[in-house]
Amino acid sequence: MELIRAEGVGFTYSGSPVLENVSLSVDKGRIVSLLGPNGSGKSTLLKLLLGIYRPSKGSVLFEGKSVAEMTPRDLAKRIAYVPQTHRMAFAYNVLDVVLMGRSPHKPFFSRYSKEDAEIALHSLERLSIAHLKDRSYTEVSGGERQLTLIARALCQGADTLIMDEPTNGLDFGNQIRLLDRIADLAQDGYTFIKSTHFPDHALWIADDVVMLQEGRVAAAGRPNDVMNEEAVCRLYNTEISILRVKGSVKTCLPRSIADGGYKRRTPRNEHSV
């Protein structure tokens, strides 16, 4: 079932075009990876899908309705934004951060109810981080912060999560644990649209991939179909090899590594101190 559709979306910022004629379609329960070099317009596209920016051209549709015509409140009940883990000015508790997700369900003048607190706690449990609820958000690890923000998205009641480079700044173990969580939630019907700087992440867990280059869609489709060496090399303007590891599993390597490692001009002399 089609959830989100962008049709010929263009976006101009301060007179210069950031995105041109971007079209894409996202089905329910899919994990979509957005790939592209720095400045290719990934973050902008995510914010257009979220309704934070308005397209200069074309339109973004959520279940057939124009996002521009939906209120932030209605939109927030369906689509949640999981930003890059950021430095937060105030040392809120993890539970307080998750509770913020209840905002679209509350009238303008209101206080959280007991039910809100239960929903927030349940969202933390869903991500197995309920033990962090009274810890300060600024003191937990980067991976735990990202999980907190995902819990906030669930607490918001959204079924579509838009993530801006979710693995950014996480150590390798936390990156893998986070991808596991995403795959796990997608099994339950959650839809993910996430930008990433790691083409491997797209190869590992994405159902669909969109490659953005200079504000245009360079290729889109199943990772197996569109992520070939030629396309990836062109996208990042570097020599990259795609290797088959085991069965159908693939991974990207710099070509120099795939071809046997860097050749140093002078071998390192280990005895000279």
Binding site: F90, Y92, D96, M100, P104, F108, S110
Partner: protein, 337 residues
Amino acid sequence: MRQRIVPSLLLGLLAAGVVISLGVGRYPVSIPEMGAYLGHVLFRLTAMDEQKLQMVSILLLQIRMPRILAAMLVGAALSVSGAAFQAMFVNPLVSPGLLGVLAGASFGAALGMVISTSWLIVQATSVSFGLLAVLLALLLSRFYRGDRILLLVLGGIISGALFTSLLSIVKILADPYSQLPAIVYWLMGGFSMVDGKSALTLAPPIVGGILVLLLLSEKLNVLTMGDEEARSMGIHVTELRITLILTATFISSLTVALGGIIGWVGLVIPHIGRMLVGPDNHILLPVSTLLGALFLLVVDNASRLLFTVEIPIGILTALLGIPVFAVILRTSKKGWS
């Protein structure tokens, strides 16, 4: 746990503070006397001679109660506005005067004193110019493109500077023997002019404004995450920010009508509140409200009891606020990470 105890503790201290403040002064009223008075007036239980009754009645109802009420209202309003502003602008150095409300209100009060001898007119011009200064700041910030919060601060600086210089003009033009001293005293703040009527008239709007801020405190948390993130959580960012600014400004300008310019309360009290209960505005705003009321009540007692001549309260809040602020900035790093 702390978040449960602190508000009830403050509420208890505030109640005790009110009773003590009613009693102390040049003519002390003891607690048994207060009890006898209450018993007599409310239930006709205790006997009291006519002369004593009249004196206690005037002391409590006409002299001390209005002043106590005014001090608590002003302290509460300034502190809760300060807390809201600090959160909204994500800046620990922000006070309710940021957008020029105090500068505008000072000018308005001075102007009122020059053009009229009516107390009511002075209060009215003070409130109107306080609001006008903030509207000017909001308008200026709309003129430019860029970061909304930074532009608001710049708008406030421009508007504040404008009304400060206008105030200087009024001071130069004022009669140096009668009007100028009145203006100078007003700018130092104080509750000696408060009467029952103005305290009771201004109480409902101030309490109403405080309630609006308290009811928006959870949305305020969301707003501190940044405009885009707040919007993605369904918040109408502009609508919310304007409501918060206008409410905080409105009650801050009303405090000027009651007690003149009283600095430092709105800056320091929220920091102490944050040290007590943490940065969650849901709990910080009510705690700041109570703490501010208690603080100004205590300081007002000091201002009328310390010396035979009353010290303007604005001077005392500054003398107390500055060292506290200096210490807090050293120790409260963790709230602001």
